[in-house]
Amino acid sequence: MIQEELAILLARNLSGEATNEEKLSLEEWVKEHPEDQLFIELLINYWNDKTEISDGVPHDELFRRIMASAEKDNTVTGKFEVKRHERFKSLKWLAAAAFIGILTMGIWLILPPTSSPVQPQIQEIVAAKGEKSQIVLPDGTKVWLNGDSKLFYESDFKGASREVKLEGEAFFDVVKDPSKPFIVHAATIDIKVLGTSFNVKAYEEESVETTLYRGLVNITKSDDDSFKPIILYPNQKVIVPRRIVAKQPADDEIAPRHATVDIRKSVIVQQIDSAIAEPGRIETAWMYNRLEFRGEDFETLAAKLERWYNVKIVFEDENVKKLNFNGSFEKENVSQALRALSTANSFNYKIHSNEIFISSKK
């Protein structure tokens, strides 16, 4: 058996835990104890000889089992009860809404991706008010555009990332590609994703809302590096108020120092109800040809109605703007919708071609 002191030096040096002093001491020992040299050399060689330790052996079968097991309980859709219209049953206007055989508003257009020319060009997809569009991007990502929305993208995703620009509202079902992040630019918000499905609502003059269903997204502000990225997990929704989305004032003196702290606080992250199956969710109701609104004031609702029906709504007094509505429209035309709304909350309205004038009931 070797001496205790040598054993200590060997143990510490081989394991990488030796101090500089201990490293030197081992070298000294070798010089001063030639009888130990052979053993020391053998042990060092044994230690460094890792040939019998199998490593990097691919366990494809085991890995496959692991992924199958892990993904099994992760699906969000299809497993939960559809509770679509149950909550609205008690509202009287529903009776007015049950008109059969009337075509729903909104036209689904399926546009094939344009053939890519030598130079990647910016393609623009437009869904006018009262319309909807669906498109498949060059990488297979599916995008559904709601009314009054525009999507800009390169005709081939050749660069280091796949980038699109959105004005309006769209639902994305992104094809996974770890080598190329998918980025949505909406106003001054950048949404970076990795194989997910999510809804982005970014109409001018309004806040930007992003709702995530599957996967993970990272949200940053394109004109403000100090804005801490927000990471969304499935079934979460983030609302970035308009005043934050609007570009920062150019002059730093105008924006006080503490403003950046306030900004972070006024961004709202909400949990959405994941027990509702996908078709029943309010944020993506438009994809299923349903206009849904919950606890919304008339002014907010009017913006939705304008896009949905391609009409212009004018409020003739301030009070009527404050009325609150819950409900959903599917096959109603605009006059049916207004009739239903006025049954829930009284107000007067006049329809002149596609302009609607709304005032309080006297």
Binding site: S15, E17, S54, P178, L194
Partner: protein, 199 residues
């Protein structure tokens, strides 16, 4: 065959970030790096190859299911070993209906060793002598020695995984070296040694 990379040299935070984002390529890399080690480690406790694989599987399934929180783990290395250890201990306590506080107190632990006739830096004979010496170390000493040498773990990590003090790890390593020298010295006396010198 891939080089056995010292785990301490890898920065896992990048993988953690990618995995949190749902990148299953990064997850596969993590799996490839740890699967064998964790299975061996689990085997040293459960003494059953199939169960050890099941346990490794369980650990990774859990990692993937909770991938959104993976960045909260400070030391992914020790986390995985501890997970494997705890799951293995749970298996044992279910199987034997008694809580085994010190599972490494078995007389005979057979850790899987690859018996392939590879070229060694030293002669096959001497290599085998030292290997055998390692295999006949007392259980706790053996697992510590193997974690440090084969898995490249730091004393601090080993201490955390096995829930012992660093001093114990240190002391056991010294004991291991001494016992190996005992066995090898014996052979020095009985067999003439042929040492292959590779430069």
């Amino acid at each position: 065959m891939e080089q056995n990379v010292n785990v301490n040299k890898i920065d896992f935070s990048r993988w953690q970030r990618e995995i949190a984002f749902g990148d299953d390529n990064a997850f596969r890399k993590l799996f490839d790096h740890f699967a064998e080690r964790l299975t061996n480690f689990s085997f040293s406790i459960t003494r059953n190859k199939e169960i050890a694989e099941e346990i490794t599987s369980e650990v990774f399934v859990k990692v993937w299911k909770n991938r959104e929180k993976i960045q909260e783990i400070n030391n992914l290395n020790t986390y995985l070993y501890k997970a494997a250890k705890n799951t293995s201990l749970n298996y044992l306590s279910r199987k034997f209906h008694e809580v085994n506080t010190d599972p490494f107190d078995f007389v005979n632990i057979q850790l899987s060793t690859n018996e392939s006739p590879e070229q060694h830096l030293i002669s096959n004979e001497i290599f085998k002598k030292i290997s055998d010496a390692v295999e006949s170390l007392p259980p706790k000493c053996k697992i510590i020695f193997k974690l440090v040498r084969e898995d490249g773990l730091k004393y601090q990590d080993v201490a955390e995984i096995l829930n012992i003090s660093i001093n114990t790890v240190d002391a056991q390593m010294v004991i291991a070296i001494k016992k190996i020298s005992e066995k090898v010295k014996l052979s020095f006396d009985t067999f003439p040694l042929k040492v292959a010198r590779k430069r």
